[in-house]
């Protein structure tokens, strides 16, 4: 779609859980300056597909992935790819806020520390501050960095998780329904944050909420029963869907 090669591109990706095929022959590009939303009814394979992008499916013994997923032209499923490094480059934010039961500071500092990104304590503190600022949480927690991360509210916890993902300086951020467990105000803050992060990171977001997809994304992929039904500019998908199934879904016929 663009002349610049995409940050990540999936070509003919299928995912199997044992004999069951959860994702069927999906090809998608994720670009630097665009937020890509994956929508579709429950069980359509959108989360499964998202988790193949940083190989989180490796933790499920029965999962098997075929096809090619390229990150900067490098196949992430090739044996030369180090999965630990991959996950640092392709960060992830989960559906349920899952801060470590440690202090706010430690939550953010953990990633830089294990990857050795900070040479000194002051550098680490700078990374933590920058990450929390980018996640829009700094003003709320700057006076209580030593408090437990689990003591924050749900929306704050999720922004803490985003700060934690940002702290290792990823190139791509994958978000798996990041606002589905949050109230409308916290959701609005997360969406605002996604807007701000766009351009700095390539972002892919899975969501149940079609309005959210319309609000935050520039490109939308509609999944149904494991297949990619339609994939294009968000405006076009929501105004003039090419496929009948897409139209039925976004008009609330099923979902």
């Amino acid at each position: 779609m663009t002349d610049i090669p995409s940050k990540m591109s999936a070509r003919g990706v299928s995912v199997f859980y044992g004999d069951k095929q959860a994702v069927k022959d999906v090809s998608i590009d994720i670009d630097m300056d665009k937020v890509t939303a994956f929508i579709g009814p429950s069980g359509c394979g959108k989360s499964t597909f998202l988790r193949t992008l940083n190989r989180m499916n490796d933790t499920i013994a029965s999962a098997r992935v075929t096809g090619d997923i390229m990150l900067d032209g490098e196949n992430i499923y090739s044996s030369a790819m180090d999965v630990v490094q991959l996950r640092a480059r392709v960060g992830m934010v989960f559906q349920k806020p899952n801060p470590f039961p440690k202090s706010i500071f430690e939550n953010v500092a953990y990633g830089p520390r294990i990857h050795g990104l900070a040479a000194s304590k002051s550098e680490l503190e700078a990374i933590v501050e920058r990450s929390l600022k980018r996640a829009g949480l700094w003003e709320e927690v700057k006076d209580r960095l030593q408090d437990s991360g689990t003591a924050l509210s749900g929306g704050q916890q999720q922004r803490l998780c985003i700060a934690r993902a940002i702290a290792v300086d990823p190139e791509v951020i994958l978000m798996d329904e990041p606002a589905s467990a949050l109230d409308p105000i916290a959701t609005a803050k997360i969406e605002e944050l996604i807007h701000e992060l766009r351009g700095r990171y390539a972002i892919a977001i899975v969501t149940h909420n079609m309005q959210q997809a319309a609000r935050v994304s520039q490109r939308t992929a509609f999944f149904h029963l494991g297949t990619l039904v339609e994939y294009g500019e968000t405006d076009q998908i929501f105004t003039t869907p090419r496929e009948e199934r897409t139209k039925d879904y976004i008009t609330g016929r099923y979902g």
Partner: protein, 431 residues
């Protein structure tokens, strides 16, 4: 309106007699359940209180000793000792050679009349020896030294024994020669044939060494096995088999582990025509520790696996998601969160090991050990075995010593559990 429609049902009459009866029955069931629960708790508390009161009532005397004030007139005894030798390491030998034991006996006979030497313990002269070594000038005068009373007198003081010794004890008491003191020797001596002279230190040290070996083997091996099985091992028929085996091992009677320890560590092996003897010495803390470690390892593995399983998967996802390696996930996140549960399992296992007697009897830790073990390979015994041995003794004096030993064992157990609970709370508050 169609009255047969399922929607048009009569409103529930909560005041109707059957309904009221049902409600009353439900409350009655609730009350009955609470009564039985409370009764069960009370009963178990009563048993515990009974045990503790009996032990303390019987045992406190075990920590004390009847002393006899014995007057010895050294110049009159005619005992000849080279003064210069008293400052040398040969002092003990010199005093023994000079007939100190007989001097003390005859002094007792002089002080308390014929048969008076029966009133003081056979070890009384050791006390006198210490007094002389501390201050050699006592050899030039008449002094009064507190020496331990014999078992007969000790028992007679509290109303046990035949009429003759009771009368003798009463006479001594009238003369003001008897007194009771806290028996420090009980805490730093070892086993003996004479109940007045026995101490618990040998067995206590044996228990300490054995528990140390058990912990150092069982805890790391158990926890690492649990981590491997939970976090790394593939789920297949082999791991299922291992799981079933571990669960079964946890239920194997302890004496069988004793036989295993006997066969493996103390047995003679013959491999490829080569004979090689016991791998480890008999009766040693290291063998006991290894055997008990085998016994409690399944308990630790099961408890640790459950604790690891209870760590929410979202924490693992979070750590993996920012690029932690599997071992970092385990040691930075899973293990600290599982530690309270792992420690609880370890306490249960260690408490079981501390109280275990049967397997240790088989590997020879029931020997009569007069000196405390100096290391892991020295002959040793442990507290529960010591209790077992003393409870088997004929002499009445051992009854209170048995109870005193039980108190020491319980205190050891409480100290161990206290330490574990402290560590557990520390881990819990840190997170």
């Amino acid at each position: 309106m169609n009255s047969a429609s399922p929607i048009a049902r009569a409103p529930t009459d909560w005041n109707a007699a059957p309904m009221q009866k049902r409600i009353r029955r439900r409350y009655a069931r609730e009350r009955r359940f609470r009564f039985f629960g409370l009764a069960a708790v009370t009963l178990s508390a009563a048993f515990l209180a009974f045990l503790l009161i009996t032990m303390v009532a019987n045992g406190w005397r075990g920590f004390t000793r009847t002393d006899v004030a014995l007057m010895i007139d050294f110049p009159a005894s005619g005992m000849l000792v080279e003064r210069a030798q008293l400052a040398t390491p040969g002092a003990d030998l010199a005093l023994a050679g000079a007939g100190l034991e007989n001097t003390v006996k005859s002094a007792a006979a002089t002080a308390f009349g014929a048969g008076g030497d029966e009133f003081v313990s056979e070890n009384a002269w050791l006390r006198v020896r210490e007094a002389i070594k501390a201050d050699p000038t006592v050899l030039d005068r008449k002094i009064t030294i507190l020496v331990p009373a014999s078992t007969e007198i000790d028992q007679a003081v509290r109303g046990d024994g035949n009429a003759e010794t009771k009368a003798a004890a009463a006479k001594l008491q009238q003369a003001g020669a008897l007194s009771r003191h806290f028996n420090m020797d009980f805490l730093h001596e070892s086993d003996s044939t004479d109940p007045v002279a026995v101490g618990i230190w040998g067995a206590l040290k044996g228990s300490l060494l054995t528990m140390l070996v058990t912990f150092l083997i069982a805890f790391p091996v158990g926890v690492l096995s649990a981590i491997y099985l939970e976090e790394y091992a593939p789920r297949n028929r082999w791991t299922d088999l291992i799981e079933v085996s571990i669960n079964n091992l946890a239920a194997v009677p302890s004496i069988i582990f004793g036989l295993l320890g006997l066969a493996v560590f103390l047995g003679s092996w013959s491999l490829f025509g080569y004979q090689f003897g016991p791998l480890l010495p008999r009766s040693a803390a290291i063998v006991g520790g290894l055997t008990l470690a085998l016994m409690i390892m399944p308990v630790i593995v099961i408890a640790s696996r459950n604790a690891i399983k209870a760590v929410p998967p979202s924490i693992r996802d979070a750590a993996l998601g920012i690029g932690a390696s599997p071992i970092q996930v385990v040691f930075h996140h899973v293990l600290p969160l599982a530690m309270p549960g792992i420690l609880t399992g370890t306490i249960i296992g260690m408490a079981r090991a501390l109280g275990e007697t049967a397997p240790l009897l088989l590997i020879g830790m029931r020997a009569f050990i007069v000196t405390p073990p100096g290391g892991f390979t020295d002959p040793a015994t442990v507290l529960p075995v010591q209790i077992f041995l003393w409870s088997d003794e004929v002499s009445r004096g051992f009854v209170e010593k048995t109870s005193a030993a039980i108190i020491v064992l319980l205190v050891f157990l409480l100290a161990m559990n206290g330490l574990a609970i402290y560590l557990r709370n520390k881990f819990e508050t840190r997170w």
